[in-house]
Amino acid sequence: MQTLNLPSHLDQSPEVAARFSKLKSRPVILDVKHLNKTFHTHTTLNDISLQVFRREFMCVVGPSGCGKSTLIRIIAGLETPTSGDVLLEGTQVSAPGSDRGMVFQGYTLFPWLTVKKNVMFGLEIGGRSPVESESEARQWIDLVGLSKFENSYPHELSGGMKQRVAIARALANNPRILLMDEPFGALDAQTRCKMQSYLLEIWKRVDVTIMFVTHDLDEAIYLSDRILVLGTNPSRIMEVIEVPVPRPRSSSQFLSPEFLATKARLEELIHGTEEAEPMPLPKIRLTHAGDDVE
């Protein structure tokens, strides 16, 4: 196979470099310090430390079993670490709270509530009056473009629409950080593409930091400022990549040199070791030697 002559993913254009220095001058929203998580004897997270800046979009990628979901669930407060700290704007996090919104892969809309009531849920339990939460909820439903469906029940919506409601519901709570655990993983390829550009549009308009777990490398590059690459055996942070693709992002950038260079680096980090040894399998039910496919 011909190898493309790609620039290094570390080469940043002056605009991109300026963007990153500006980003890093912003206050730290999320500070993860020496996080460890052990299930029985199996180490899922090993000494994870990272900082996420205000209004940053960070994706977390890594091979399956690297603990990317565990990491985000610990930050959400849904799981407890074996050791280490999670600080949100300097405050220790130990239980789930409305300051960290979460969008899950499965559709977690409350099936007994309409779209509007789903979005109002967090506001109402936070003590806002029904009238106030309703008008607030309407704005968020507007933002995700579902005004026509505010009185529909979740089962009447498509997968993409459900996730848009889930995003609106999480954002309505005005969280400091939005945690997304493979939110588009169950969607078909076309819907997923639309949802990605949708999410970027929303992120532009809202003061929120996003941490996004995915196994889709294109998705990670397309969305992120920085990509956190986790490894397994031993589990660790392999690299934090600053994506050199300029913003605003568009799908035409998928074939740009910076994009491909980043992808090549990610492939190297994640799949580099996997392809080395093909699994030895016995040949069964091959009666003629001429039936070989390769």
Binding site: L78, G101, L113
Partner: protein
């Protein structure tokens, strides 16, 4: 077979006309078997109903005599040249024909009780329905909250369920004598038996239903800031409502099965008393009528509950907005609008 789908498709669906055909068959088939046994003389008919006793001393008109005895007596008479008895094949008294039951169905409501002070059929039925209602209500008032708590919090599950599990193996009727000693002989011990029969199952069934709630909904609510109390009332309860409702329908069916036992306890009453009295008088037509009435009450009340369930839970897939729901929604929206108007003013 090329046209249309096959009837037997594993986990498939049947068209509406086919469903109706099968529904019809499911009721007419047993009825047809009953009719055949009753009306076709050579199918069973082990007895002979005497039309003319002839010269047999102990035969009387309309008496039911074993077929073999009847033949033996007639053979004796034929040999001695006596007047031969005649009769028609008949079924035992405990298997009345469908038309007899149908007549009894009507008559059982119109005939006054044989003994003064005994209850009419509708009075007996009403008594039974009240016993079921109170037994099931008390059981649910206690059992549903405990079940939900057990399903939600492992703490309540550990502190309650082992004992409940132990107790539910004790047959409810075994508590009969105790219930009478404590609660007297009238309605109270009967209600207690229904309660005991329902309650322990109810706690376990509802705890299980609660545990089956999609935990990701609970997690979603937690990340939206819900506290324990809000989780319980705003997520767990509405989240299990549909399954809970269906559990209750099944449990109500179980409560009916305890009714007959409960009514034997203390002063026999209700539909059981009616059935026993009629059996004593050997009016089996009425016995059948009463048993079928219990079936009809159970079946129709379940259908009604099913219909109500579909009105209550409009968020279920495939449920169209019903008239009742539309009215409820309209009322709620109008009150909300006035609230908004008041707030603006």
């Amino acid at each position: 077979m090329s046209k249309g789908k096959k009837w037997l498709v594993p986990f498939g669906t049947l068209s509406e006309p086919r469903q109706l055909i099968l529904l019809w068959i499911s009721f007419t088939l047993p009825l047809a078997v009953w009719a055949i046994v009753s009306y076709v003389p050579f199918v069973w008919h082990p007895l002979v109903k005497i039309d003319d006793p002839g010269d047999v001393s102990y035969f009387t008109r309309d008496a039911l005599i074993e077929r073999t005895t009847f033949k033996a007596e007639n053979a004796k008479l034929a040999a001695s040249g006596g007047h031969i008895a005649t009769g028609t094949p008949a079924n035992p008294v405990f298997l009345p024909a469908p038309h007899e039951v149908a007549v009894a169905f009507y008559k059982s409501f119109t005939t006054p009780p044989k003994r003064k002070g005994d209850k009419w059929l509708h009075e007996s039925l009403w008594q039974s329905i009240q016993v079921i209602f109170w037994g099931f209500l008390w059981s649910s008032v206690v059992g549903v909250p405990i079940g939900i708590l057990c399903g939600t919090f492992p703490f309540f599950s550990r502190i309650t369920e082992p004992f409940v599990d132990f107790t539910r193996y004790m047959p409810a009727p075994a508590f009969g004598a105790l219930a009478v000693a404590v609660l007297g002989i009238y309605e109270a011990p009967k209600i207690a038996i229904i309660f005991i029969g329902t309650f322990f199952q109810q706690v376990l069934v509802i705890a299980n239903t609660t545990r089956k709630l999609d935990t990701s909904l609970v997690e979603a609510a937690q990340t939206l800031g819900a506290n324990r109390r809000q989780l319980l009332f705003r997520v767990v309860v509405p989240g299990i409502a549909v399954d809970l409702y269906n559990d209750m329908r099944i449990l109500l069916g179980w409560a009916w099965t305890y009714l007959i036992v409960a009514e034997y306890i203390g002063a026999s009453s209700g539909i059981t008393f009616f059935i026993n009295q009629q059996a004593k008088y050997r009016i089996y037509d009425n016995v059948f009528a009463a048993i079928i009435i219990i079936g009809i009450i159970g079946f129709t009340s379940d259908r009604i509950l099913d219909w109500i369930g579909r009105q209550l839970f409009p968020w279920q897939k495939g449920v169209k907005k019903s008239l009742l729901r539309a009215i409820l929604d309209r009322r709620r929206n109008s009150t909300q609008n006035t609230e908004t108007a008041n707030a603006n003013a």
